[in-house]
């Protein structure tokens, strides 16, 4: 069973990367860009058939390691 995890900076937390990337996009001629924020992405393959249990596992991974909950939020999706 596969899960997709996206980890994003909490609102109000400075995103230095997003800032520079957004500026560069504008410089190379991309218009209409309101904002861009950068985060992390994980593709996780679990040996688990119960999707509830799987999701719980992934949540545990996020909390214990993948996300830094002081500055980041995470989202889990089954794929």
């Amino acid at each position: 069973m596969k899960f997709a995890v996206t980890i994003t900076l909490k609102n109000d937390v400075l995103d230095p990367q997003g800032k520079v990337v957004g500026q560069t996009l504008k410089n190379i001629g991309i218009k209409n860009l309101n904002s861009i924020r950068q985060g992390k992405f994980f593709e996780i393959d679990l040996d688990e058939s119960d999707s509830n249990k799987g999701e719980k596992k992934v949540k545990e991974m996020c909390e214990k390691l993948l996300a830094n909950q002081i500055i980041e939020d995470f989202q889990i999706k089954k794929i």
Binding site: L14, K19, I71
Partner: protein, 730 residues
């Protein structure tokens, strides 16, 4: 709109303090004003508990250009060169978010240095963690180390040294102290004092967001179990912007358009604007609608208290705006005039065409509360350690145990994550007694060392205070530098406790005595109180960062033994003091007894004699003797070169443990070739310096005659193991 009781409390102010606020304002304060007072009056900005004691420290001599009171201290190193340096703590934020906490600590101290017109040339740090057995330690260690590296490496300033220690006392309160050293032209130092009326107040750097609001208040309150859950908005560092800000400021500083400059550190826009106005005896008026904001709908309260990083405030001379703006545009940084200096002596803030705050500057600065806190001095531990009552242990086992302990292990795992070579002036990296950094394009260098010894300070704060200054002095001497001046970071528990305050007062007394005797003034520093959790304070941990000068690049020494057949001498007398020693701590988990006494007269005598030998080219390698005593220091010299040592038993003292592991102060190991022995005996005699031969350099065997024989390579393996094992992913 007035403020409530709860709000006053939530801002960490007492009701007596609020009464004062009302008196100064002549009315109740509004919430914004309360926030401003709280930021300025808290321990972190006002030094209300420490100021009366800090005044005792010696801060002047003929080389001091600027002592404490500015962003950093400045000393004269000749040829119009000035060295600008300071150390600062970022303890609380680093415990909550180790990477960002440590990174922004480095960013903050760098700004303190380049604000004064200096290009930073070196970074150092002192980091203290809880026991390796504590489940948080591993994560904190790796986060802090990569945070320090992540920031310094990116800005391109070499991190050339520091110290790392572990002790239970820091389990819930780690220490992250960062030091920055910069180089300036002594005739072009920039200060924070504002001058002149109607001068433009300019905001430069990053935009303001909601980060770290109340960071300064956090640093002034102790932790409880909920602190981790509270998740205050921690600041995220942006070293890239810092690098741009650094280059832009230094570029602007080439001409004379800046009247005054101040970084926005703790309590951001509030403290920077007030500091400038207060020092210049002026008023300041700001239009907050002009402040560059990162988020929508930021309130005046948020703008004034935000601790967003990488920002500066400037006061520019008339008609200089346009040229200055061009520079900041080039570096893609915000540059906005947000206000002006006035003759009102008040801080006036406007927002949406309304006056939202109006406070007399003096009330925020000079008239901030000052406390003479009650203190009780600790009783000195007197008991002597009876070595014969301890369990028997072999000398070589005791040595290996110390060498493989977290506190004495080789720190390459850490230092390999720091770029130590960028800027191409690092002559000596970490691993020796001091780092050595060349003054760019010149035939001279500075030496830098950072030291602390919390165990000694806990056992006897005054002796500990003295000792740590002396050890720092010794470390500078050991590379051939003439010690010049220090900065210090005083990490303590709550000043509201009389015993903690007693430790603080006594440590300062010790530091003062040593600095005065050694002509080693304090030019800058920082105090970090409230390092305690659930009412448990850390050991008193003053950290000393010292700087010395080397005027001959050919006469720099290190701890590496050089050649077979050379002799190693102990300079200074060995009594065999084991109280508070690494020997007891690492082998018997004991920390009993008083710390070793400091005899400042011997300290100076021995140090100056060693320095003379280095300058004459007679001392080929030098290492001071500190934690672990003679045997550990000898092992460190041997491991550094890979050459072995044949060590002789002492002629007089009987107890070998006391001789080899005793931590008597004021001692050095020096290597010299046999045919120089005669020459130095005369010199030592003349100066009344005790010395004895302790070892001879040999191939690859490290041995004490008739006691044990080990391979130097095995010492290295034992010394290199701990960090790798502790941090291994397996």
């Amino acid at each position: 709109m007035t403020v409530s009781k709860d709000q006053i409390e939530a801002h960490g102010l007492t009701f007596d303090e609020y009464k004062k606020i009302k008196e100064y304002l002549g009315r109740d304060s509004n919430l914004l004003e309360l926030g401003i007072f709280s930021a300025m009056w808290n321990e972190h900005c006002s030094y209300k508990s420490s100021k009366v004691h800090l005044r005792k420290l010696p801060t002047k001599n003929n080389i001091v250009i600027q002592g404490p009171g500015e962003n950093a201290g400045v000393i004269d190193i000749g040829d119009d060169d000035a060295v600008v340096f300071k150390i600062e703590s970022h303890n609380h934020p680093s415990f909550i978010e180790p990477y960002q906490g440590a990174a922004t600590g480095v960013g903050g101290i760098l700004r303190d240095v380049f604000t004064m017109g200096a290009r930073p040339i070196a970074l150092m740090n002192s980091i203290h963690f809880g026991s390796p057995k504590n489940h948080k330690t591993k994560n904190l260690l790796s986060g802090v180390v990569s945070g320090i590296g992540g920031y310094g490496n990116s800005v391109g300033i070499p991190t050339v040294g520091g110290e790392t220690k572990f002790n239970d006392t820091y389990n819930e309160n780690i220490l992250v102290n960062a030091m920055a050293v910069g180089l300036a032209n002594k005739n072009k130092i920039f200060y924070s004092k504002a001058k002149g009326l109607n001068k433009a107040v300019v905001y430069v750097g990053s935009k303001t967001g909601r980060d770290g609001i109340h960071g300064a208040t956090m640093a002034s309150a102790e932790f409880d179990d909920n602190s981790e859950e509270k998740k205050p908005t921690v600041q995220v560092g942006d070293p890239f912007t810092e690098k741009l800000l650094l280059e832009a400021c230094l570029e602007l500083m080439k001409d004379n358009s800046i009247i005054s400059i101040q970084d926005m550190g703790a309590a951001g826009l509030t403290s920077s604007s007030i500091e400038m106005a207060s020092k210049g005896k002026l008023g300041i008026e700001l239009n907050l609608n002009k402040v560059p904001c990162r988020e929508n709908k930021m309130t005046p309260y948020e703008m004034m208290l935000s601790e967003s990083q990488e920002r500066m405030l400037l006061i520019l001379d008339d008609n200089k705006e346009e040229e200055a703006k061009k520079i900041f545009d080039k570096w893609d940084l915000d540059f906005v005039v947000i206000g002006k200096t006035t003759d009102t002596n008040r801080l006036i803030l406007n927002f949406d065409n309304k006056k939202v705050a109006d406070i007399p500057i003096a009330a925020l600065a000079d008239k901030a509360p000052l406390y003479e806190r009650k203190f009780t001095l600790n009783k000195l531990k007197k008991e002597k350690v009876e070595i014969n009552n301890l369990k028997k242990i072999k000398i070589e086992d005791a040595l290996l145990k110390i060498l493989s302990s977290p506190n004495h292990s080789n720190k390459s795992w850490i230092t390999d994550q720091y770029d130590q070579s960028v800027m191409c002036d690092t002559i000596q990296k970490s691993g020796g007694d001091s780092a050595v950094v060349r003054i760019h394009n010149k035939e001279k260098a500075i030496a830098i060392s950072v030291d602390s010894s919390a165990l000694y300070c806990k056992a006897d704060p005054k002796t500990g205070g003295k000792q740590i200054v002396a050890e720092n002095w010794r470390n500078l001497i050991s590379v051939g530098a003439k010690p010049l001046a220090i900065t210090n970071c005083l990490n303590f528990g709550s000043p509201e406790k009389t015993d903690v305050m007693g430790e603080f007062v006594d440590c300062i007394n010790g530091i003062k005595e040593a600095c005065e005797f050694l002509n080693f003034p304090v030019v800058s520093g920082n105090v970090s109180f409230y390092n305690e959790t659930n009412s448990k304070s850390i050991h008193p941990t003053p950290v000393i960062g010292g700087v010395g000068i080397i005027n001959d690049l050919k006469r720099i020494t290190n701890i590496k033994t050089k050649e077979n057949g050379n002799l190693i001498l102990v300079v200074g007398k060995t009594i065999g003091h084991l109280g508070q020693s690494a020997f007891l701590y690492e082998n018997f988990a004991m920390n009993s007894g008083p710390p070793p006494e400091i005899n400042l007269l011997n300290e100076k005598n021995n140090g100056l004699a060693v320095l003379e030998l280095i300058k004459k080219g007679i001392a080929l390698s030098v290492h001071d003797i500190s934690s672990g005593g003679i045997l550990v220091s000898l092992a460190e010299m041997s491991m550094s070169s890979g050459l072995g040592l044949k060590i002789f038993k002492p002629k007089k003292l009987k107890n070998l443990y006391e001789y080899f592991f005793g931590e008597d102060q004021g001692r050095y190991l020096i290597e010299l070739s046999k045919n120089n022995l005669k020459n130095i005996e005369a010199l030592f005699k003349k100066n009344n310096v005790f010395h004895e031969i302790v070892a001879e350099v040999q191939n690859d065997t490290f041995e004490i005659e008739g006691l044990f024989s080990l391979k130097t390579k095995d010492l290295q393996i034992c010394n290199n193991k701990w960090y790798e094992d502790f941090n291994a992913i397996n």
